[in-house]
């Protein structure tokens, strides 16, 4: 209990509250701008968090992403363009409601059930993370090796519709992580005599480059804009109590699905929303109404995408394995702030852990009034011209990449990886697995080499401990499954 009090003391300070309010506005704005994602909001925030204390830094990320995932619904309903990929699943449904004159209902449902989903995910995080950390304390390098392999595998197989290109993107990220002296041998590799690379590739410029620069470049070549639909927005919260009662199973199911998918490494809010929308349609009593402006799917998948945000923090805090690309960035920030993720975090810094939990609760509660403001001012918000916004974002990216080491080399890295990511996406290679590889690379290598040395080069010890054996078996099964399916299909022909 004294930890909770100490955590509250860390959190309820004027500067922290100010940070939360400011990043709420920032998150709502970024989420509502089509083309700017919640991940990009995080990437743009990181240079600022660099100069903050640990708790406000994490609070900034948590608040901004929660707000951004909700406000992605706003242009979805009014422009038929999802503000973030997480709203794409139900954008047609929301727009159909707008055309029926129910824009306020669509947005209100998005808002209220986003908050409920977020709180559900937070409850799971608060309950599951310490319990899992208890178990994880007994883990050795073997378990961590398999766990990170499993995480990377999920990222490639589940999080992308193109596993082969995802695999290549992942190996690219792992290779970038190899640069420099940060390997178990402490040997200088892949730096090719460039002194700025001796300590490895600086994480934040790469991140800004890969998540923000492609959007800036794409805005230059994408033509056309959209007109804001003529929507009357009267009463955002009317009928919400009725909906909550009528669709209670859906709300619960969406929140649970979202939390679970968020916790799976690599799969985040967008996939949570797609799957929940499909589940909602499948089990609905009024399936024929889907697609014609029916609120049920919006409620379930709106809850799911916000629930996934908190779910993603479970493996991130307990094992240091990110549940989605946002937590991949957040893990980088946790390390920078000396809050190294892992089970010992719960022993050594319980105050900070509880403060993070409280931030989640606070952000999801604040979402309701702040989101109401955003909905009410939606039409003005969507009128910000992209031609002005994107160059300003570029400038912020440049300064942010520079600020980490006060060196123009950061800007070089940002530009290089930005152009690489743009070319990758043009050719169908997903960027997410590359970032995951970059974050997890050192962890995988360290535990792999450590385990190999302990096992004296034999493979059997990798499977001898019960949990390691189980994780290893599952990982190998997933790896071998595609080949087995292929052989089976051939044999049947």
């Amino acid at each position: 209990m004294q930890h909770v009090a100490a955590a509250a003391e860390l959190l309820f300070r004027p500067d922290v509250i100010w940070t939360i309010v400011a990043t709420s506005f920032f998150g709502l704005f970024v989420g509502a701008m089509p083309g700017l994602t919640a991940t990009m909001a995080t990437a743009l925030l990181v240079p600022f968090t660099f100069f903050m204390e640990p708790v406000p830094a994490i609070a900034a990320i948590v608040t901004a992403t929660a707000m951004a995932i909700f406000s992605g619904d706003i242009p979805g309903a009014l422009l038929r363009i999802p503000g973030t990929p997480a709203s794409a699943a139900y954008v047609d449904e929301a727009y159909a409601m707008t055309r029926k004159g129910q824009a306020d209902q669509a947005l209100g449902a998005g808002l209220v059930f986003s908050a409920i989903g977020g709180l559900f995910g937070t409850a799971v995080l608060i309950w599951a993370a310490p319990a899992l950390a208890e178990i994880a304390l007994k883990f050795s390098s073997f378990e961590y090796f398999w766990l990170s392999c499993l995480g990377l595998t999920c990222a490639v197989l589940i999080a992308t519709d193109r596993p082969l290109k995802g695999l290549i993107a992942l190996s690219f990220g792992l290779l970038i992580a190899c640069v420099g002296v940060n390997n178990p041998a402490g040997y200088q590799r892949f730096s090719f005599g460039i002194s700025d690379l001796l300590g490895g590739v600086s994480f934040i410029p790469v991140l800004i480059g890969m998540f923000a620069i492609p959007e800036v470049l794409r805005s230059a070549v994408d033509s056309g804009g959209a007109r804001v639909a003529d929507a009357r927005i009267d009463s955002v919260f009317r009928h919400m109590g009725h909906y909550a009662w009528k669709y209670k199973t859906g709300v619960l199911r969406g929140s649970a699905t979202g939390t679970l998918i968020g916790a799976l490494p690599g799969a985040g809010a967008d996939i949570a929303a797609w799957i929940s929308y499909a589940i909602s349609k499948k089990f609905s009593k009024e399936r024929e109404k889907f697609g014609t402006g029916h609120v049920e799917g919006i409620i379930e998948s709106g809850a799911a995408n916000n629930a996934s945000l908190a779910g993603a923090w479970v493996p991130a805090m307990v094992f240091g394995i990110p549940g989605d690309s946002i937590t991949a960035i957040a893990i980088g920030v946790l390390y920078l702030k000396g809050l190294n993720p892992g089970p010992t975090l719960f022993l050594n810094k319980p105050d900070a852990v509880y403060a993070i939990f409280m931030v989640f609760v606070l952000a999801n509660l604040m979402m309701v009034p702040m989101g109401w403001l955003a909905i009410k001012s939606a039409k003005q918000l969507l009128r910000v011209p992209k031609e002005i916004l994107m160059p300003v974002i570029l400038l912020n990216c440049i300064v942010g990449a520079y600020a980490i080491d006060n060196s123009v080399f950061g800007v070089i890295l940002m530009l290089f990886f930005g152009v690489v990511a743009f070319v990758m996406e043009e050719n169908g290679f997903p960027v997410g697995p590359a970032i995951l590889g970059l974050v997890l690379g050192p962890l995988v290598e360290e535990n792999f080499i450590k385990s190999l040395i302990k096992a004296d080069g034999y493979l059997l010890p990798f499977f001898e401990r019960p949990i390691a054996g189980g994780l290893g078996a599952v990982t190998l099964l997933i790896w071998l499954a595609p080949a087995a399916v292929w052989l089976w299909r051939r044999a049947r022909r």
């Binding site: 082969l164 590799r189 470049l217 160059p391 600020a403």
Partner: protein, 155 residues
């Protein structure tokens, strides 16, 4: 530019082979049978397998070697894209000499212009946005942005 998967695969295969060749030459840790080259070798191998599968898929897909999207044929949009890259390069090369305020304001003004923002709006917004970013990073976060020729400015 959309390349056929076979072309992307070929490029990646070359990268993977280079990585493996480089990693094989790294020494082992003293007294150990493993070294800093093992992990990158394995990743290189994984990448090589992926690249070969990609080549196979690209060859059987029967698509052209490279396709140029509609935007790349539109000189205005292509110029816009190249300008963003060129201006960022210019920032990398000249920011130390010119100073942040000068180069950032010029960059924004140029990008607003090519984006079709009228000068009456674009020029003042470029100046205000530059000063706002300068204030946020220089004053609030204490990042020493390059001052260069603008060293005489009071802020």
């Amino acid at each position: 530019m959309k390349f056929n998967d076979a072309i992307s695969g070929l490029f990646l295969a070359v990268v993977a082979v280079a990585v493996i060749a480089y990693s094989r030459n790294l020494p082992a840790m003293p007294g150990q049978f493993v070294g800093p080259g093992l992990f990158p070798t394995l990743i290189g191998a994984g990448m090589l397998i992926g690249a070969l599968l990609l080549i196979a898929r690209g060859l059987s897909a029967g698509r052209p070697w490279a396709e140029i999207e509609a935007w790349a044929r539109d000189p205005r949009r292509l110029a816009h894209l190249l300008l963003i890259v060129a201006l960022t390069l210019a920032y990398i090369l000249f920011s130390e000499f010119l100073g942040f305020v000068a180069i950032a304001a010029a960059m924004l003004a140029a990008l607003f212009a090519i984006g079709g923002v009228r000068a009456r709006v674009g020029l003042p917004v470029a100046l205000v946005a530059t000063l706002a970013v300068d204030y946020a990073f220089q004053r609030m976060l204490r990042v020493p942005l390059p001052r260069g020729l603008t060293d005489f400015l009071p802020f």
